[in-house]
């Protein structure tokens, strides 16, 4: 059953069925109509032949009045008898027995099977001629024609089927089989194979298209193989590079670690050196300052020579300056070494600022510089290392006075910065603004660096250690704040110190968004 179904599904069988049915649908009605028309024509020819012959015989019988002359009548009727379809003929008067008949011995017996014509010979008296004839020739011709027609149909059908099968096999089946074989081989072997067929018809184009597709696939596969090979090589190169890079990173890391250790060691050595040297320097320096001060004060007796007194004062001042440098160096060294700690305490901002202003006011008065301070809430307090903050403010105020020309002014402003819920934004700000000659933008980083000085044109009164600003910045950053510097040449410089909100509070209560002081630790 399955084999039969598979057979019916084959393309060739379908094509045969379609062509066979179409052929039969066209040829059978055509042949049938042809046979029918031919048969009809044959029948009409026979009817015409017999009809004309009968009519002419009747005319002859009438013209010769041969009703009463049997021999004459038979002679006149003899052409009828010569026709191959003729069976018999009779001349009779209506309502009477025949007077003449052919064959003369028999006439037309009642059981004779045939086609009958009866036509009048004369009007009065009513003589009639009756003729019987056979259609055997029609049947014979029809049988022959039908046999011929069926044979023609059968032969033509077989020829058509053979032509279809042969044509299909040559035009379709062969290229299709080769194409199918190539596809199956490709599928089984895993390697694409072309089909060997050359033709310019549709099947040839199909095979050609398949072969072209196979060629493209081969090229693509070749390209993929090459690309894979390149990728493999690239991957190997990349691995080598990675390995080299890792080696270099390892080497570099090792070098950096060595450099870091070296730097740390150098820093540690520097700090230890500075501390040792500072200690070693401060002891004799204190002695120098003390003895020179005794000499200036004349505690053990006044120096007779004024020049000796001036020299003693210079020795004392220089010693104090050197001591300040040493102290600041020590502070920087401690902060850099992470050994400095904050001695936090609650201190009033107002008190702090008043104290600082008082300390710098003599120098300001000496130089006729006016000091202006903004109004400070007396309840405002800070939780800071008061000594360090005071040192910072004094340093900044001293710088402002030092770098402001005589007769000018220095402004100090203290303000609270609202934090709007963000503790990183709130806090307190100190703005110390002088009206000195100012700095250009590229000089600001230099001013913030240790041991850097911008005193090319400065007077002796402006001399400093060059460590004040960096040390102040370090101390403020120890508190979590920041120190910034804004300056404009010819206008002046403003130094801003910001301390975070966690270090600001009020003595009485929390106001607005300023939180109360939280004691560290």
């Amino acid at each position: 059953m399955n084999t039969k179904l598979a057979l019916l599904k084959r393309l060739k069988v379908k094509l045969l069925a379609i062509v066979g049915l179409a052929f039969l649908a066209l040829i059978v009605p055509g042949i049938w109509m042809l046979l029918h028309t031919t048969s009809l024509a044959d029948e009409e020819m026979l009817a015409t032949r017999i009809g004309n012959l009968t009519a002419r015989t009747a005319l002859a019988l009438d013209r010769h009045q041969a009703y009463d002359h049997p021999f004459l009548a038979r002679d006149l009727m003899s052409p009828l008898a010569a026709d191959r379809a003729f069976l018999c003929a009779e001349v009779f008067k209506v309502g009477h027995q025949p007077v003449v008949a052919i064959p003369s011995s028999q006439g037309c017996p009642p059981g004779l099977d045939g086609n009958e014509i009866e036509i009048p010979i004369s009007v009065e008296p009513k003589w009639h001629l009756r003729v019987l004839f056979t259609d055997a020739e029609l049947r014979a011709a029809r049988n022959f024609e039908y046999t011929l027609g069926l044979s023609a149909i059968a032969v033509a059908f077989l020829a058509a089927m053979i032509a279809v099968v042969a044509g299909f096999a040559f035009l379709v089946e062969r290229p299709l089989t080769r194409l199918l074989t190539a596809i199956r081989n490709s599928s089984e072997s895993g390697e694409l194979q072309t089909a060997n067929w050359r033709g310019s018809d549709e099947m040839g184009q199909v095979v050609h298209a398949y072969n072209a597709m196979v060629e493209r696939e081969r090229q693509r596969e070749h390209t993929l193989v090459n690309t894979n090979e390149e990728l493999r090589r690239s991957e190997a190169d990349l691995s080598d590079l990675n390995r080299q890079l890792e080696d270099r990173v390892t080497d570099r890391t090792r070098e950096l670690e060595l450099a870091k250790k070296s730097a740390e060691f150098a820093n540690f050595s520097k700090t230890r050196f500075l501390r040792a040297m500072s200690h070693e320097l401060r002891t004799p320096l204190n002695a120098i300052i003390g003895f020179s001060d005794i000499m200036v004060q004349g505690t053990l007796g006044r120096l007779e020579n004024d020049r000796y007194r001036e020299f003693s004062a210079d020795i004392r001042d220089s010693g104090r300056h050197l001591l300040k440098i040493i102290n600041e160096l020590l502070d920087i060294a401690r902060i850099e070494a992470g050994q400095d700690t904050l001695e936090e305490e609650i201190v009033s901002v107002n008190v702090l600022m008043t104290e600082c202003m008082r300390l710098v006011s003599p120098l300001a008065k000496e130089r006729t510089i006016a000091l202006h301070t903004s109004e400070i809430d007396p309840e405002l307090v800070l939780d800071v290392d008061a000594t360090k903050v005071k040192q910072v403010l004094l340093n900044l105020l001293g710088n402002a006075v030092k770098y402001t020309p005589n007769g000018s002014s220095v402004h100090v402003a203290v303000s609270l910065r609202p934090r709007h819920g963000d503790p990183r934004r709130g806090g307190i700000e100190f703005h110390i603004r002088d009206t000195g000659k100012g700095m250009s933008p590229d000089q600001i980083p230099q001013a913030m660096a240790a041991f850097e000085r911008l005193d090319n044109e400065m007077t002796a009164s402006q001399s400093g250690t060059g460590l004040g600003l960096p040390l102040a910045q370090m101390m403020i950053e120890l508190h979590g704040g920041s120190l910034t510097l804004e300056s404009e040449v010819g206008v002046g410089t403003t130094v801003s110190v910001w301390l975070p909100a966690t270090r600001v509070g009020y003595m009485r209560s929390i106001i607005n968004d300023i939180p109360p002081v939280q004691k560290a630790g």
Binding site: P29, E43, E44, A55, N115, I117, E118, I119
Partner: protein, 134 residues
Amino acid sequence: MTKLHIFFFGLVLLASTIVIPAQASALTLAEKASIQASMQRHVDGQLVDGALLYLNQKAGEVQRLHPVTAHPMILTMGDHYVLCFDFRNDSGKNVPVDYYMARRDSEYVVFHTAVADRTLLKRLMSDGKIARLR
């Protein structure tokens, strides 16, 4: 083409082979022979000295038409029949004569004769009123 299409195709083919034989002749062979004989008898009865006299109204003369051949084809016009006969005039030109016949009892009689008027027959055929007898 589906199997259904093939089935209907075969059915149409079968129907066509069945319908065509059903178009049998309307007259039997004997009747055809009788009608041919009747026409022949009519023609013979009309002859004057072996020729059919025809008044050509256009030419304004009587022409003599000599019978030559009876056409075997029988045409039908409803219950009536049309048969053709070829005549030849004195100048040798063929003249078609169409006989319109009717059945009377077992006989056939000519009720109209169209001499050299093939236009009438063609018009009636194109109108579908006259067809070939099958």
